[in-house]
């Protein structure tokens, strides 16, 4: 399935750039680890 996008102003194209960045495996793994740390900090803060 094509991932064609419409031409858009720069601020809107930033969403495309973020999407493309999140698509790489290294960034996806970093995001996953980041979520574990942040949610862990948020939950463990009450211990």
């Amino acid at each position: 399935v094509s991932r064609e996008r419409r031409a858009a102003p720069r601020w809107l194209a930033a969403f495309d750039a973020l999407e493309a960045r999140l698509g790489s495996w290294s960034v996806a793994c970093a995001v996953l680890l980041g979520l574990l740390v942040v949610l862990g900090a948020a939950l463990l803060a009450g211990c």
């Binding site: 399935v1 094509s2 064609e4 419409r6 969403f15 999407e19 996806a28 995001v31 979520l35 949610l39």
Partner: protein, 482 residues
């Protein structure tokens, strides 16, 4: 939650709901050919009847249904349990799986004799996914819930790649990897809880769990694992290519139901298995991720040039609404019921939209939005179903979630929901305006589109529009109050 060993007289309905699709899988594999389709259709009819009977019994008795497997009480044995939430999700699953099956009959008609691989795969995988969904909604043991998630993954991933193209295989592989990472994290959390408390039964665990690091680390691992499976932003990358690349009937099931099961399990984990463990910071974090999904998914849906990708990104956005439940439910509000109503309305609307998009793509020979000029005249019923499904997603109807957020004074979630509604309106109106436009060469039908399938999509869209008016919150509270 009620005592796990207190079995209900009508509890036998619960294993029946699980066994029907599982037996259907076995029969379909053994019989093969066109008989696989007949087996699946019979299972859909019977399963829908059982799901409705479970919901009716829960409604009538005002109590959760419980079945103790083999009469062995937990922690040694396991129980199946259907409260109001489970009953509502069971009926929704049975209805939408049956609708996807009816729609898929034309696309996956098997050969009169012998084995057709794609039809046999479609019917058996659809039944497998249904078994996994029912197990997730009825399970009350964390390891059983892990098994349900695995069953769901191994049914859903091949559904994505049924088309067999390189792109769909890539999408399916990415989905599989994300799902497996989620499974590993979930299983690690399950192991930690078992080591710390010696039981995985949800009701027993709720009574034993303490606010200690072991329980909190387990909650973090399991929650992040489930977020990866639910495709909550920013872990959504696998969803758009997977859902847009699958055949329409499969896309509908994946988008409407499969991503709801991990959300349902996060609800079970936070509210039922580990109550009192969540901190306001963690609840707000889930809400922020949900609001980000609403905005991010909505903007990217507006930016798509293909209808199927638009609908897939719309799912990314709609998943965000569900996670607003967590900061709102903390205030002791009916937000949980609001979240489940939202999940059901989205499931109905998304099935209607994917099915109608499948018909539009079949009729016109493509799903390019720019090539839709005049499609409203060529395929009026399909466009109407798409539009009605979209309008129900905009959220013009009264919303329990929105009202709860206002009552709790958390206006920022209302702002996120209104922003999501505006983005949804933008992408739905864009498609409808293009379809009604007279500019450019008018769309012509390349292939006939069955009126019965158009009417099926339209009926689901109408149901999606009206479901918020039903007194669902009464049913959803059953089995959850002391």
């Amino acid at each position: 939650l009620s005592e796990p060993s207190a079995a209900s007289p009508e509890g036998f309905l619960l294993p029946l709901a699980l066994a029907l699709p599982a037996i259907g899988v076995a029969l379909a594999v053994v019989l093969g050919g066109r008989r696989a389709e007949r087996v699946a259709l019979a299972a859909f009819a019977l399963g829908l009847g059982v799901a409705v009977a479970i919901a009716a019994t829960v409604w009538r008795t005002g109590e959760a249904l419980v079945y103790v497997v083999g009469a062995w009480a937990p922690p040694l044995g396991i129980t199946l349990r259907a409260d109001g939430l489970s009953a509502a999700m069971l009926v929704t699953s049975a209805l939408l799986i049956a609708a996807a099956g009816l729609y898929g009959r034309r696309d996956f008609a098997g050969p009169p004799a012998g084995e057709g691989r794609a039809p046999l795969a479609f019917w058996t995988l659809l039944l497998t996914v249904w078994t996994g969904l029912d197990a997730a909604f009825l399970g009350s043991d964390l390891f059983n819930l892990f098994v349900a998630l695995e069953l769901l993954t191994f049914g859903a991933v091949p559904l994505v790649s049924l088309g067999g193209s390189a792109a769909t295989l890539r999408a399916a592989l990415r989905y599989l990897l994300f799902a497996l990472i989620g499974s590993v994290l979930f299983l690690l959390g399950v192991g930690l809880l078992y080591g710390a408390y010696g039981t995985l039964d949800v009701a027993l665990l709720a009574g034993r769990v303490r606010v200690d690091p072991a329980a909190r680390v387990a909650a973090v691992l399991m929650t992040v694992g489930l977020l990866a499976k639910a495709a909550l932003f920013p872990l959504h990358l696998w969803l758009p290519p997977a859902h847009a690349g699958a055949p329409p009937a499969a896309s509908a099931v994946l988008s409407a139901l499969v991503v709801k099961a991990p959300f349902f399990l996060v609800v079970r984990l936070w509210f039922d298995a580990l109550p009192g463990l969540a901190t306001p910071a963690a609840e707000q974090l889930l809400g922020v991720l949900g609001a980000s999904a609403i905005v991010f998914g909505g903007v990217l849906a507006v930016r798509q040039e293909r209808l199927k990708m638009l609908v897939a990104y719309s799912t990314v956005a709609q998943i965000g609404y569900l996670f607003l439940v967590f900061p709102l439910a903390a205030a002791g509000t009916p937000a949980l019921a609001g979240g489940i109503v939202q999940a059901i309305a989205h499931a109905l609307a998304k099935t209607a939209m994917f099915l109608s998009v499948g018909l539009i793509a079949r009729g016109l020979g493509h799903d390019r939005i720019d090539g839709l000029a005049g499609a409203a005249r060529a395929l009026p019923v399909s466009l109407l179903a798409f539009g009605l499904g979209g309008v129900s997603l905009i959220g013009l109807q009264p919303s329990l979630l929105r009202r709860t957020a206002l009552d709790a004074g958390q206006w920022w979630w209302v702002a996120a929901m209104l922003c999501g509604g505006a983005l949804t309106a933008a992408y739905v109106v864009r498609v409808l305006a293009r379809a009604r436009s007279a500019a450019g060469p008018p769309a012509a039908l390349q292939a006939p589109v069955e009126r019965s399938r158009e009417l099926l999509a339209l009926a689901l869209a109408l149901l999606a529009f009206g479901v918020r008016m039903l007194p669902l919150s009464t049913l959803l509270r059953i089995g959850r109050e002391p």
